[in-house]
Amino acid sequence: MDLIQAVKMYIIKMTEDCGPGMKVLLMDKTTTSIVSAVFSQSEILQREVYLFEQLTSTSSSDSMYHMKCITFLRPTRENISLLCKELRNPRYGYYYIYFSNIISKTDIKTIAESDIQEVVREVQEYYADYLAIAPHLFSLNIPSCGQCLSWDPLQLTRSTQGIISVLLSLKKNPLIRFQASSKMSKQLAEKVKVIFSKEENLFNLKQGDIQPQLLILDRREDPVTPLLMPWSYQAMVHELLTINNNQVDLSHVEDIKPDLKKVLLCAEQDDLYKQNIYKNFGEIGEIMKSLIDDFKTKAKSHQKLDTISDMKAFVENYPQFKKMSGTVAKHVIIMEQLSNYVTKKNLLEVSELQQQIACDIQSSQHTQKIRELIEKNIPDEEASKLVMLYALKSFSKDSNRELTSLIQMLKSKKVAEHWIELVHDVMKFQSKIILDNENTLKNAKQITKRFYKDLKGVDNIFTQHVPLIKELVEDLIKSRLKEEQYPFLSDINQPSKKVQDIIVFVIGGVTYEESMAIYNLNITHPQVRIILGGSTVHNSSSFLNEVKLATFGVIKSRGGSRKL
């Protein structure tokens, strides 16, 4: 169930299918990022792929008949017409065509009729239609799923295709479960189901005793998690510097070396990153320090090259040495940036309060503390995020009044109008007010949790909040996930009590913090395998963008109970 392996194996197979010889890889924009997420350039060069081209309407017309062309495309209308155009005037010797998803017979016919020179040697479906970020994490890079709290039909199709390809690449034919309270989840679940029955042959897979489960969730159920400041390395980099297709743009940093303007953060190729991806900020700081010391001593020992053996040792270590110096430099710059932001934005204080609000600790003092922090002139976005959290988490009678006064305060501090609107949008986005009886149920649960926590002692005040998804998956593992709230779509009489393979998809995106939670669940529950996917991987600002778009056109505030 390793997603990175799954995509990698497909691409290796592509390069093997066409035999030896110089190859060019012809892709579209999406497949380019799919391939680059799992392969480094040097790795793919060793597979005799020497040229990477994007299929666009303005492709170059350089013809190179001596090269074999591996064509890896999403089966979109645009791609098919571009491919037909390409085949009518082929630039390369032979074409091996792979589609990342299910393609219709009519499209194949159209392509076949364009291949008048008979250059196509292969037409296959290889289901690598998702971005494999970690062995257990995938994203579809959909920045926004829709408007008016309902699906954009295009993105609904894309999400369906993404899930289908994940399932086929892992050879899973799961039971489908969805979040009953979300219309979007239901629609997506139904769409997936339709494909199951339409492509019966494909999904006629050999299954183990325990059928896998696909759980479709909606971000609107938990808008709190993406607003919180994360402190694990990967999540932090994404929150403060933004990871885009495994790349971090550092060009805004002053006096940066040209080769560090855009750095690659890929666990597959960067061991240092792989080891520290889930470590928290403090731990990494120490690791970095020891690494630099280590590095310095090594660099020093290389300076004296008196004897031949010194020189030999140097030459032998040189490539590693150079590689290491590159990685260390990269992470040092990133860490430097992160700690700059932490001080500049006053993030330690902000985060502590965020956690207190999110976990309902000392709730009576929240408004007071928010006011104090706003007085301290923390950045607009942090101030308004605190108010958003307060709005999402407080249900007491006078919270309405408090909220209004907090918003007044934001206004008086000249926080941009955009941010104040977002406070309202987030409230519209949240799926529902928690009902009274549910509230008591939740309270009981929280009390037990508090009890455990007290036993353990709070080890880190910045990471107390547990994402909802973790609780849901834990319930699912123990077969305690309520069927009324998360029903099965497939008609099964008696779902087996045991769970083994779980695929969770979150409409509206996941966060790296949630990815870490799933990673840890995979460790603590070796008997199950859990995969997490989302329409995208959010940080707080990209999440708020999605909220803005999703609530566009929604007039009434949730339940009408809270007018502002």
């Binding site: 799954a6 010797g93 194949i108 690449s169």
Partner: protein, 446 residues
Amino acid sequence: MTEADEENIVLEGFLCPICKVDFGLDLKLFLHFQEAHSEDQDLVKSFKDLFGKAKEKILKNDIGKKEECHYVWEPQEIGEVQSHFQYFKQCRNKWVEHFVMETNKTVVRLEKLLCNLPQDPNKRKIHEQTIVHWLDGTDVTRCPDCTKSFNITRRQHHCRLCGSIICHECSCFLPLSKAYETINETGKNQLTSITQGSTTSFRLCVHCGQVLENREQIKYRDLKPLVCDYYDKIIECRNKIENDLLIKFNQTYNLLKEGESSYLTEANKIRSDIVKLAETIDALSNRILKLENDTNSSKVTTKNIRLAMIQCVQSTVLAIPALPSLKEIEEIAQTKREAAEARLRNGHDLDKPKMSLSVSKRHSTQKNEIKLRLEDGWSPVTNANVNSDDPVVEQMNIIKNYIKQAKEAYRFDEVASLERNLQELNEEYFKMQNDSGNMPGYSTKN
């Protein structure tokens, strides 16, 4: 005050948790508890459960944190695939047949057009129209290609090969010289030079233009540029290194490590062969880089080929270990001889199977050896060259082997502990040998 003091007194012993009486013995306490507090037990049990769960949870979490273990999922096979090539070929075959026919027709028409082509434009037009029927344009108000309507500025034109109507923007032009080339009549050069003054090309519709263009392209498809020759040579060298020489080298290298000095010259030769081939690869890829490239893509390609080959050369050449000197090998042989003698002194020619090592076995071990060198950590590798049927002897041989490897890796602390081990085993072995003298039926079964 006194109450509080009483509260603070620390009680010891086998106390009942409910009535706080000391029973002195665990059994007594147990009995008391069962008799007196049986009705409370459910409560206690539930407490126990709760604590047990909490403990489990905490412990689990801690394990997850401290050991930094990664979850490991068993290797998987490649995901589903679905081929459409059969259907694709079916569709294509139908179409290609149709297309070939069309191409032939077009070429035949072109041939007819070129035959006795008049030079005078008016006469030429009549000639063209007698061969290809021009479509009547009175009912055609729009260009069928771009659907823009015809007017004074956008006039109707005719394709000279199929007679269809097109606008100026949608037509392409076939120069006469090229037209002759297309029908393979180079002999008529004279004519083309004469006609150069007047209209020198045919107006064609995009469709007919494409048909002829494709026909031309197919001619050039099989031409291979220089880069291919070089590249083929590079791949040849690379295959030779990877599939032949490196394997041989590793074999001989391991023999050397066993102290067989006679292989030194051969190993040296293989080594220099590899280096030479690597140099060839380097030189060839450099030559590819220097080739003149007119297009941007081919520049990128050659650059990438060069990059890939540099990586390849680096990884192969740098991975070859340096050969031990003759002196070092003799030292190894010496220690081995001593070890053999020691073993002989210890009685029984147990090392015979070791001497008659088959090459295939070495082959299987050599990969391990190389890996051992490349990794940072050190751990002994079980050589397969121990095949005595006595388990103790086997064990001893394994340990001897470990000692040897540890010595090579300069792990003297490990050597010491291993030697202690060996000593113990030796004693054990002798004891057993003596016993087995008394028991003639002794076999490896125990």
